[in-house]
């Protein structure tokens, strides 16, 4: 998991560069609360202290990166305890959880504190930082009519100088850290590739059918949490499928659901719900893609005790 932390470093730098104290506050709160929660829950379960595997630190970082910069401190704190407690320890600890813990935490606070997490929470009127005084690009695009894509937005979206969740704005930083992860094989390359390809395909179809939409393919790829989600959230090794074919299907499913939610749901972005939904399908995907043993005539029979995983 230390590789994931190294991969998250560029995202951290971008987040602090864009949001300054807002980003630092979320990261410190989430990191501290996640580590504290992990320590408390491993003490309660009388297990060896599991802080050394860095999984709690990774969860804390990803949770912080997915929060709005303006979120009050208790959002991060409650989200961290929900992520570690409900998302991971309730299932039996690292390796047993069926959902991505950070996204469980975010979903919990999203429903708990809707006013601190919704689209309007991203805008802080009168803040000294210019970025956070405007609506996020995806929210703005939801309300903009058929004005066509705004090509001047593309460069800020790529480097990250726009409003959004703390760590999602810079596609460049996510790409750098994500490629490092794939290169180190800490993340499986099939998931981000399948997810980005699906987003591009669906967005491309949309471009072709309705060229006046404010978001083009490139806007969809660089905006919102697609890059962060593709490289850091969907690739969680515990809650994503085990086989190569399964990972292609998983990534494509996340990408398709993201585009579905961006286009038709009330939310401007849908990476969290997409990842959680596909996490729920992971045991089924694993069961459907059990590899055939070399020389074997049929697929290995799934054992009931391993949740369908081969």
């Amino acid at each position: 998991m230390i590789d994931v932390l190294i991969g998250l470093a560029p995202v951290l730098v971008a987040a602090v560069a864009v949001f300054r104290w807002y980003a630092l506050k979320q990261i410190v709160v989430c990191l501290a609360c996640c580590l504290l929660a992990e320590a408390i829950f491993s003490a309660m379960r009388r297990r060896a202290m599991s802080l050394g595997d860095f999984s709690a630190a990774v969860t804390g970082m990803i949770l912080a990166f997915s929060l709005p910069p303006s979120a009050p401190w208790y959002v991060g704190a409650v989200g961290s305890f929900a992520a570690i407690g409900l998302g991971k320890c309730a299932f039996g600890g690292l390796g047993q959880n069926i959902f991505n813990p950070a996204m469980v935490g975010r979903a919990f606070v999203m429903i708990c504190f809707a006013s601190a997490m919704g689209a309007s929470a991203y805008v802080i009127p009168g803040a000294s930082l210019d970025v956070v005084t405007q609506a996020t690009p995806l929210t703005a695009a939801k309300s903009a009519g058929g004005a066509g894509p705004d090509w001047s937005m593309l460069w800020p979206l790529f480097v990250g100088n726009v409003n959004g969740s703390v760590g999602e704005t810079s596609a460049l930083a996510c790409l750098l850290g994500g490629l490092y992860l794939c290169f180190r094989r800490a993340a499986k390359w099939e998931i981000p590739l399948a997810m980005l390809a699906t987003v591009a395909t669906v967005a491309g179809l949309g471009d072709w059918l309705g060229p006046r939409h404010p978001l083009s393919v490139l806007h969809h790829l660089t905006g919102g949490a697609v890059m962060l989600g593709a490289f850091f959230i969907a690739t969680d090794p515990v809650s994503s499928p085990l086989t190569s074919g399964g990972r292609w299907f998983f990534g494509a499913g996340v990408g398709a659901l993201v585009m579905l939610m961006r286009a038709y749901s009330g939310y401007p972005e849908g990476v969290m719900f997409s990842v959680l939904l596909m996490n729920a399908l992971t045991p089924l995907i694993n069961r459907a893609t059990i590899p055939r043993p070399l020389g074997g005539s049929h697929r290995a029979i799934p054992s009931q005790t391993t949740n369908g995983a081969p």
């Binding site: 409650v78 309730a90 919990f108």
Partner: protein, 220 residues
């Protein structure tokens, strides 16, 4: 069935009463009556009204079933239980509608649904159809207290976190951010699951303690 079973069989009245509260708690240990537990436990007021209604129906039907246990035919007993329960549920439902109209509207279909509450059918089957009126009454009281305890604990957690109040009185500080999820159905599942885990944890700790204590006593 059991009309030939004599008076002396089965646990004694006091044992029935105590068992119902914690050792055989209907929600935490038997996992019965989960539907009303999840549905109306987002405030203490509705939870306690539901617990009261269930207590009335349980006591009434346990008494009646115990009184007529000599007449029960094995293949018709569930039908008789259901009819008895339905009678008392109708009384409870009409009473709530007449005297606690707001609460009756708030509880909605969950009062009529007490008819199919498994706690009551289970108690008729397990205790009232086999044991004396006195034991059946003690059993009903114990199980009702157990159900009320479970409802109270879940509703306390949900109302405190979700509204910052308890029985409608502000408890939490003014700045308390309401945890909306705890009022919604997911909050019911989370609160029930976590509290059930806590109860099991405490029970396991007690069991280990008493087992350890017994061994130490033997050594001494």
């Amino acid at each position: 069935m059991s009309k030939h079973i004599g008076q002396g069989d089965g646990p004694a009245p006091l044992e029935r009463l105590i068992n119902g509260i914690l050792p055989e708690n209907p929600v935490y240990r038997q996992i019965l009556g989960i539907c009303p537990t999840l549905a109306v436990s987002n405030s203490m007021e509705s939870a306690m009204t539901m617990a009261g209604a269930v207590a009335f129906v349980l006591l009434g039907s346990n008494l009646v079933v115990s009184l007529i246990r000599g007449l029960l035919k094995p293949h018709l007993r569930i039908l008789v239980f259901t009819l008895t329960i339905a009678t008392f549920v109708t009384i409870a439902d009409r009473f709530l509608a007449a005297y606690m109209h707001e609460m009756s509207r708030k509880l909605g279909p969950y009062v009529p649904l007490i008819i199919v509450n498994c706690i009551i059918i289970a108690r008729c089957e397990v205790c009232a159809a086999k044991q004396s009126v006195f034991t059946a009454a003690a059993d009903a009281i114990g199980q009702s207290l157990g159900f009320a305890l479970a409802m109270a604990t879940i509703a306390t957690v949900r109302e405190l976190l979700g509204f910052g109040t308890w029985f409608g009185l502000a408890v939490m500080p003014k700045a308390w951010p309401a945890w909306v999820v705890m009022i919604l159905p997911p909050g019911a599942f989370l609160a029930l699951g976590l509290l059930m885990g806590a109860v099991n944890w405490i029970a396991a700790a007690w069991a280990a303690k008493s087992a350890g204590g017994g061994e130490e006593a033997k050594k001494a």
